[in-house]
């Protein structure tokens, strides 16, 4: 696994047992989050409840908004004023937030959006799912934009990734997403938490201790001592929007070069590689161990950044006759990216469960064996 730069230091780290949702919230607080707006929806309610408490502790703002549309727009307001801001929801609520996400991208405003996925389409159910992969990685809202999407697979990563995503959002000035699912949100695991170090001075564009001050020169804080700042997404002048789209593309190219993350597990000499992210990758890892025990050379490739997707790293694992088994809690969405990476589509297989079903280790092992033969 590629170690991220500036990783969380936790010399006095305390191990505590918390849910993934709470770990996510704590990661945000450690990153200097001072504004959270959300709306109740299962299975992410622990996160909203946690933020309502923690924002009080740190003197930040918590707003239970009247809708998802309002929540993401409040986040827009806080980030346009230069403060680190976040909202969270689950699938149907994230659909509503797409309007705001598109505007955040168009206004180049950093913000963290958390999606604790549940089954869909429609109201679906409240069981865990991975069926918002397309929405998260291929746009979701209108217009040409992308956001960095990281997929944690443990409560610790819920904390670490969320914390780091604030830096990524500030660095590239745009919305970013934590993509988890109902299991990750609601399960409890020991997490190392260091509440001391919430702000790292090395971070450029970090808010100072006074939440009202900001070092983001583009932020709207009143034009004292400078020319007025205008942050907008309407670009009507001849060629203006195309020039902006080109600017965004340059930024996205840079992100594609710098922010790709993945993890490989027992891939040396592997004849069949399970490709899975998030919760599915945990089951995939156990399946690899089982397969190896049976003498089958299996490995796991786990994309961590779903956008940008690690196409090259995955391609490198293809020895010409390697088989790939994509495992998802969806009808096959990341599968399309795996097919883009692997030229010979006949060697890319899929196993998935939908509607809140979770792929079992046994089923994955069975599938792998059937493709291997």
């Amino acid at each position: 696994m590629r170690k991220a730069k500036g990783r969380v230091r936790r010399p006095d780290g305390k191990r505590i047992l918390i849910t993934g949702n709470e770990a996510c919230g704590e990661g945000a607080v450690q990153a200097g989050l001072r504004f959270y707006a959300g709306y109740p929806i299962t299975p992410q309610n622990e996160l909203t409840a946690y933020m309502s408490r923690r924002m009080l502790d740190v003197g930040g703002t918590f707003i239970q908004a009247e809708s998802e549309l309002a929540a993401i727009s409040m986040v827009f307001g806080a980030t346009v004023a230069g403060v680190r801001a976040m909202t969270s929801s689950s699938s149907p609520g994230i659909s509503l937030k797409q309007e705001g996400i598109s505007y955040l991208a168009a206004c180049e405003l950093p913000a963290v959006i958390v999606n604790i996925m549940r089954g869909g389409p429609g109201l679906g159910n409240i069981a865990p799912s991975q069926s918002d992969y397309f929405q998260a990685t291929k746009g979701g809202g209108h217009g040409d934009y992308h956001m960095v999407v990281l997929a944690p697979a443990s409560c610790q990563e819920m904390l670490d990734f969320t914390r780091e995503l604030f830096d990524i959002a500030d660095r590239y000035r745009g919305p970013v997403m934590v993509l988890g699912d109902g299991i990750l949100g609601q399960m409890m695991e020991p997490v190392i938490v260091d509440r001391r170090s919430s702000i790292d001075v090395r971070r450029e564009s970090q808010t100072t201790n006074d939440k009202r001050q900001t070092t983001k020169s583009w932020a709207l804080t009143g034009c004292k001592g400078r020319k007025p700042n205008v942050i907008k997404s309407l670009r009507l002048k001849e060629g203006e929007l195309e020039a902006f789209n080109e600017k965004l593309e340059k930024k996205y190219d840079l992100i594609r070069k710098r922010e790709i993350r993945f993890e490989k597990y027992r891939t040396e000499g592997a004849k069949i590689i399970i490709v899975a992210y998030g919760t599915s990758s945990r089951i995939g890892r156990a399946s690899v161990d089982r397969l190896r025990k049976y003498g089958i050379k299996a490995g796991l490739f786990r994309p961590i950044s779903l956008w940008p997707f690690p196409y090259e790293a995955l391609k490198k694992l293809d020895k010409g006759n390697t088989k790939f088994l994509t495992v998802e809690m969806s009808a096959g969405q990341m599968l399309e990216d795996v097919r883009l990476a692997i030229e010979d589509k006949s060697r890319v297989h899929f196993y998935g469960r939908t509607g809140g079903g979770i792929p079992s280790e046994e089923a994955i092992v069975r599938e792998a064996i059937s493709y291997k033969l």
């Binding site: 001072r34 504004f35 707006a37 703002t61 707003i63 908004a65 009247e66 809708s67 549309l69 309002a70 929540a71 727009s73 409040m74 986040v75 827009f76 307001g77 806080a78 980030t79 346009v80 004023a81 230069g82 403060v83 801001a85 309007e99 705001g100 505007y103 206004c107 939440k211 009202r212 709207l220 804080t221 009143g222 034009c223 004292k224 001592g225 007025p228 700042n229 205008v230 942050i231 907008k232 997404s233 309407l234």
Partner: protein, 244 residues
């Protein structure tokens, strides 16, 4: 020696406005700028522009301005004000933005008693998209989508947002004015000044609803449009202080 008796407010830029002749927006923009100058808050103001004819208000104002998604204007202002409580935050919204797509945001921002100021320009039509019916279009008024006139059975009633907000405990000051004559314009300016004053004193949510002309989509001359406000519109939307 010549004496300068009339000048452009510092809070306005030199840009030439794109509004149609006789449009009420230009007047309201200027009133807001004059009030900001008089209160000496130009460097403390952050405004949120709407979607609609006034979307490029930031080209005309000489202070910090952002632009919200259609109707989310008060939600964006909420976010800004909560993190910048010492700054003066206002939204500038038309009737489509505030009374149709953004009804939820305006009601809940008012109900939370957000300490923001709302400048609500009500001209009863969608100007930017070609003169369609707005929720505030009067009964019988002809628009691009009510060719035979607004019919209450089919199109519902003109919505009276100011009256609705006035009953909320979260609101401090609501007044309806017009920019149809010099006298009404002076009253409008006073109301805007009062609204900003309430925010500066941390007294809560303030809104001024301003009846404004849209000669283009009313199919009238500027003069007739002003007369229409004073003779007809005020019957549906009576002027005066609704709260505070």
């Amino acid at each position: 020696m010549e004496k300068l008796i009339f000048k452009k407010p510092e809070a306005m830029t030199d840009a030439v406005m794109h509004y149609c002749a006789g449009c009420g927006h230009g007047i309201v923009h200027r009133l807001v700028a004059e009030v900001i100058d008089e209160l000496g808050i130009r460097e403390k103001v952050v405004a949120v522009a709407p979607v609609g004819c006034a979307v490029i208000a930031y080209d005309y104002w000489n202070f910090d301005v952002t632009e919200a998604a259609h109707g989310r204007t008060p939600a964006v202002a909420t976010g800004i004000k909560r993190v910048l409580p010492d700054k003066v935050i206002f939204t500038y919204q038309g009737d489509g933005d505030l009374a149709a797509i953004g009804t939820s945001e305006i009601i809940h921002s008012a109900n939370r008693a957000e300490n923001i100021t709302v400048i609500f320009v009500n001209n009863g039509v969608y100007g930017m998209t070609g003169g369609q019916m707005a929720p505030t279009t009067t009964v019988g008024q002809k628009t691009a989508t009510t060719k035979a006139g607004r019919n209450i059975r089919r199109d519902g009633f003109p919505i009276k947002i100011s009256e609705m907000l006035a009953v909320l405990e979260g609101t401090t000051y609501i007044e309806r004015t017009a920019v149809s004559s010099p006298k009404e314009i002076i009253k409008t300016k006073k109301a805007i000044k009062k609204a900003f004053g309430i925010q500066i004193k941390n007294e809560g949510f303030s809104m001024v609803e301003i009846l404004a002309t849209c000669p283009t989509y009313w199919g009238q001359s500027s003069q007739d449009a002003c007369t229409r406000i004073e003779k007809e519109l005020v019957k549906t939307y009576p002027l005066g202080v609704l709260k505070g």
